[in-house]
């Protein structure tokens, strides 16, 4: 169960099937990103793929009849039309066509009728239809998937296709469960189920014959846990995404001052970058220590290189130069990123902020926390976005608290010129009325198990104030693998497959409304203790992108649950 190698194997297959010879690859916008997440350009060059072109680029009609052409596109109507035009007027000698998802037969027929010069050699579906971010994390790159708190139709189809592709590339035919009460989750689960039954031959994997429990697909809703994407993160990958934003494994530093020219755009791929692969889940402090040792090693090597005295030294230098260069590149790159991160953390007073954020998320101490929030959000060093996040967390946590004082906090935000309407929108999106599961561990006295667990937690104290919060997902996953009864909260859509209270061997989790890197870390930790979990989402959120998603999702709906904040709702009076 590794998504990156899943995609890699598919692409290697494409390159291998077209045989030796120079190749061009025709892609569309999405498949370009899909390939770029798994392979670098030099990897593709090694496989004799020398040219990359977008099918929709509409470039000149230059013919290169000695090239073979690999076509890797999503099966959209527009792509089919473009491909048909290409086949009617072929520029290359042979075409190997691969669709990233299930394609209707009529489209195949249409294409076949266009291939009048017999240049097509292969037509295949290879289900590389998702962006693999980590081996256990995929995204579908849809920053907004809802409007009016309902699915955008395109986003719904894309999600269905993405998830079926994940299932097919890992050869899973799962039990499908969805979060009860979430319309979006139910709809998506139903669509996936319909697709699987329609193409049942495709999903006929004989792996479940040995009587083990079938894999499980769990469709969740971001609205159950709005807290995780709002918190500031301290593990490397999550932190980079929160502060500098990772997009398709790339970090754009072009608008930052003091960044050397070579590092305007950085690729962060654990697959190609050993350091990143090892440290993506390490926290900020650990990274600092690691980079220090790396620096020392680097300096030692650099010193070794310096004393070039004899011919032999020179020869040694030349021979070890490629590795040396590679290493120095890595060191400088991560040093640059860490430098940016630490600069931002100090400037924005993130240590104090994060501590309070974590405490709001984990502990109920209303009045003390309210005082601290008031003090912090008035602080000029704290950016208005960070202040808003604090208020949002407070509003979520104490929504039903007797002395809830969100209004006065919003007043402060508004006086600082912040977008106060975010908070009511967030409550509408994921307030108490929608959430299931106990996000803030509000334990009823009757639940003895949880009560003791919390008590023990309280006694033990926390080892790190910045990382005390664990996402709700972790608890859900643990419940699943303990074989807890799932039906009330996560009903199954194809209940005929459900085993009798046996935990699944493999689990694919999809979060409508986006996953986060903190959740990816939780999944990673569980995978380390022997489970097999894949996490996916419509996108990978940081706090800003999450807030944007909330605003678009709630745009235009009537606010029913935030009457007390009504005067902050409209956007005009900022």
């Amino acid at each position: 169960m590794n998504l990156i190698s899943g995609i890699k194997l598919y692409i290697e297959k494409m390159c291998a099937e077209s045989g030796p010879g120079m190749k061009i690859i025709l892609l569309d916008k999405e498949t370009t990103s899909i390939i770029s997440m798994a392979f670098s350009q030099s990897d593709m060059l090694q496989r004799e793929v020398y040219l990359f072109e977008r099918l929709d680029s509409g470039r000149s009609n230059e013919r290169l009849k000695y090239l073979k052409c690999i076509v890797f596109i999503r099966p959209t109507k527009q792509n089919i039309q473009l491909l048909a035009n290409e086949l009617r007027n072929p520029k290359y000698s042979a075409y190997y066509i691969y669709f990233s998802n299930i394609i209707p037969r009529t489209d195949i027929k249409y294409l076949a009728e266009c291939d009048e010069s017999e240049s097509v050699r292969e037509v295949k579906e290879l289900y590389a239809d998702y962006l693999c971010v980590n081996p256990n994390l995929f995204s579908l790159n849809m920053p907004n998937c809802m409007s009016n708190l309902n699915w955008l139709p395109d986003a719904l189809t894309r999600s269905m296709q993405g998830i079926t592709a994940v299932l097919l590339s890992l050869k899973l035919n799962p039990v499908i469960r969805y979060r009860a009460g979430s319309q979006a989750a139910q709809l998506l689960a139903k669509m996936i189920y319909e697709q699987i039954t329609k193409d049942s031959t495709l999903f006929d994997f004989r792996s479940n014959m040995d009587g083990s429990a079938p894999p499980l697909l769990l469709v969740l809703d971001r609205r159950d846990d709005p807290v995780t994407p709002l918190l500031h993160q301290w593990t490397y990958q999550a932190m980079v995404h929160e502060l500098l934003q990772i997009k398709n494994n790339r970090v754009d530093l072009s608008d930052r001052p003091n960044v050397p020219k070579d590092f305007k755009e950085l690729v962060l791929s654990g697959d190609q970058d050993e350091f990143y692969g090892t440290n993506m889940y390490a926290n900020y402090g650990e990274i600092g220590a690691t980079i220090k040792t790396l620096m020392e090693e680097f300096q030692r090597k650099a010193n070794d290189q310096k004393k070039v005295e004899s011919i032999a030294d020179m020869k040694n230098f030349i021979e070890s130069y490629p590795q040396f260069k590679k290493m120095s590149g890595t060191v400088q790159k991560h040093l640059c990123i860490i430098g940016e991160l630490s600069g931002l953390s100090n400037k924005r007073n993130l240590f104090e902020l994060s501590e309070l954020e974590q405490e709001i998320a984990c502990k109920a101490e209303h009045s003390a926390q309210l005082q601290r929030i008031k003090k912090l959000i008035a602080d000029e060093r704290v950016t208005i976005e960070d202040a808003l996040k604090l208020v949002a967390l407070y509003a979520l946590r104490y929504e039903r608290h007797a002395n809830c004082d969100t209004s006065s906090l919003l007043q402060i935000i508004k006086s600082r010129g912040g977008r106060a309407q975010i908070v009511p929108a967030l409550i509408e999106y994921a307030g108490n009325h929608v959430r299931q599961g106990d996000l803030f561990n509000m334990v009823r006295i009757t639940d003895a198990v949880k009560l003791t667990r919390n008590l023990i937690k309280g006694l033990k104290g926390v080892e790190n104030v910045f990382t005390q919060h664990t996402p709700l997902l972790k608890e859900t996953l643990e419940d699943i693998f303990k074989g807890r009864e799932l039906d009330p909260v996560f009903p199954a859509i194809n209940s005929e497959l459900v085993p009798f209270r046996r935990p699944p061997q493999e689990l694919v989790v999809f979060i409508i409304g986006g996953a986060t890197y903190e959740e990816a870390l939780a999944v990673h930790q569980l995978n380390n203790s022997g489970y097999k979990i894949i996490l996916g989402g419509t996108t990978i959120h940081n706090s800003q992108s999450f807030i944007n998603e909330v605003l678009t999702a709630t745009n235009g709906i009537q606010f029913k649950h935030t009457k007390s904040m009504i005067k902050y709702c409209s956007t005009d009076n900022i």
Binding site: L9, M22, Y66, E113, V123, L202, F205
Partner: protein, 514 residues
């Protein structure tokens, strides 16, 4: 003491998966805080189990003794020994458990190993080919086109074969080959639907006879036409004299399209510009050098391990060869770059990409090879190893030869046994002159016997082959031959030792016979 109290306690402890401490009652496992309470409890609760009571007392006695005497007295008693060993084992296992738990905790806490490096082997995912269906739709259409095109080409051939230069004759000839449609009832051009009149006259496609207006007519240049009809241009030399308007054949759009498509397909299958040829050379070089690269790494490794299969000159020769290939690749990729093309075209970026990949391949695979090891260092390692083996060989040889000379009788039996085989190996004996191995052999034994031994002959032959393979830089062969050689040499020693044994045995036999 058959029922060791420690054992029973231990079993219970491990069965429930936890280790209890304190003043435990071995039967109900309650913790009773002090020894008095425990004995009291035991006497009351488990009075009927007298034996166990005793054993409980034994535990305390033993425990006391252990603490006081530090196991010393206890070793004598077998029962006590077993008990102490069981506790030790228990302790070890529990500590092992503890370690295991620690490790799990560590890996849980924050795994610092690279998540990308421990990918388990994964199968390629599901796939679904539609090519069969695609073909079933495409091929009948293509066949129809193909037969149509063939018909056209045959007509074209006939049309061009003896095309008269005179325009009237030509028209007649054309109409003879392909019957023109009767145009009297056709009032409109079939393709553009405009009416025919004085200014827009009817025209005929020369290949299908169809009617169209001048605007809808297409023209196929004679040269192309001749090429399509596979007639050589030289034969149609006289047609060059025809004036401009006649040097093409009037065709309808459909016929021209069919012919064009055919030409296209033909071209794309036979198209091999210089770029492709040079590129293929590069690929071939790259393919050929790959085993050399692996071999080089292998040689370096084996050198570092002090093996003598390869020499340092082998490594440097191979390195030189790889360097030459790299140079050749570099040169050819530069040549590709020099081929002319439109600036900004796809071809240009293709050439750049090829060059880039060449540079990459050279840099990453060829120039990053580990350097040649230090000769002196390798020699040192080898020397040490050689000394060891030689020492062993020499002692064995000496023993063998001593025995051999002492019992000369045994030699005859060996020689007669080997005599038959020597014939089969004789063919390779032209290489016997390269006899550098048997030199030390000759000094210790009679030269006659060593030369006559078929195994030794074989060894010499192999030696020769190795030398040849080295010259050809065929290091894979060198390796297998070297290994064969070692085996043969070992075999020789084995036989010598055996002969020594048999020689030692044979006099006894003779004595018995006499």
């Amino acid at each position: 003491m058959s029922s060791n109290p420690f054992d029973s306690d231990e079993d219970q402890g491990t069965a429930s998966g936890e280790i209890l401490e304190g003043f435990l009652c071995p039967i109900c496992r309650a913790d009773l805080k002090s020894i008095d309470v425990l004995t009291d409890h035991f006497a009351r609760q488990h009075a009927e189990e007298e034996d166990t009571l005793k054993s409980v007392f034994n535990i305390f006695v033993k425990a006391k003794k252990k603490i006081l005497n530090n196991f010393e007295d206890e070793r004598g008693g077998a029962a006590a020994g077993s008990s102490s060993s069981s506790t030790a084992a228990g302790g070890a296992s529990s500590s092992a458990n503890g370690n295991g738990a620690d490790q799990r905790v560590l890996s849980n806490a924050r795994s610092r190993f690279n998540v990308f490096n421990y990918m388990s082997k994964q199968q390629v995912g599901a796939e679904c080919s539609h090519f069969e269906y695609f073909q079933s739709v495409r091929n009948p259409r293509l066949e129809r086109y193909a037969s149509e095109t063939n018909k056209l080409i045959i007509r074209l051939h006939r049309l061009l074969k003896d095309l008269p230069t005179d325009s009237v004759q030509r028209k007649q000839h054309e109409q003879q080959t392909v019957a023109w449609l009767d145009g009297t009832s056709v009032k409109l051009c079939p393709s553009c639907a405009k009416s025919f009149h004085i200014a827009r006259r009817q025209h005929h496609c020369r290949l299908c006879g169809g009617i169209m207006c001048n605007d809808c007519s297409k023209f196929l240049a004679l040269e192309n036409a001749l090429q399509l009809a596979s007639l050589s241009t030289s034969r149609s030399e006289p047609m060059q004299h025809m004036h401009q308007g006649d040097s093409a054949i009037r065709l309808c759009e459909h016929c021209l399209w069919l012919l064009d498509t055919r030409q296209d397909m033909h071209e794309s299958r036979t198209c091999r510009p210089l770029l492709v040829q040079v590129y293929e050379q590069i690929r071939q070089l790259q393919k050929d050098v790959t085993p050399d690269l692996d071999m080089y790494l292998k040689i370096i490794n084996s050198l570092h391990e002090g093996e003598t299969i390869f020499t340092i000159t082998d490594a440097s020769a191979l390195r030189g060869k790889i360097g030459q290939v790299a140079e050749a690749m570099d040169m050819r990729s530069k040549r590709i770059l020099a081929i002319y093309c439109e600036p900004g075209s796809r071809e240009e970026s293709l050439k750049k990409a090829i060059r880039l990949s060449c540079i990459q391949a050279i840099k990453e695979r060829m120039l990053s090879l580990p350097p040649l090891p230090n000769e002196a260092h390798i020699q040192q390692i080898q020397e040490r190893k050689r000394m060891e083996t030689e020492q062993r060989i020499l002692t064995e040889q000496r023993m063998a030869m001593e025995a051999y000379e002492r019992y000369g009788l045994g030699a005859t039996t060996i020689q007669s046994g080997g005599g038959l085989e020597s014939g089969t190996f004789a063919q390779g004996s032209d290489l016997q002159s390269i006899n550098n191995w048997s030199a030390p052999q000759a000094s210790t034994s009679t030269s006659k016997s060593s030369l006559d031994d078929p195994l030794i002959e074989q060894i010499n032959i192999i030696k020769g082959y190795i030398k040849q393979a080295r010259q050809d830089m065929n290091f894979e062969v060198v390796e297998t031959l070297e290994l064969n050689l070692r085996e043969l040499q070992r075999e020789v020693y084995e036989r010598q030792r055996k002969s020594q044994n048999s020689a030692a045995a044979s006099p006894e036999v003779e004595q018995q016979q006499s």
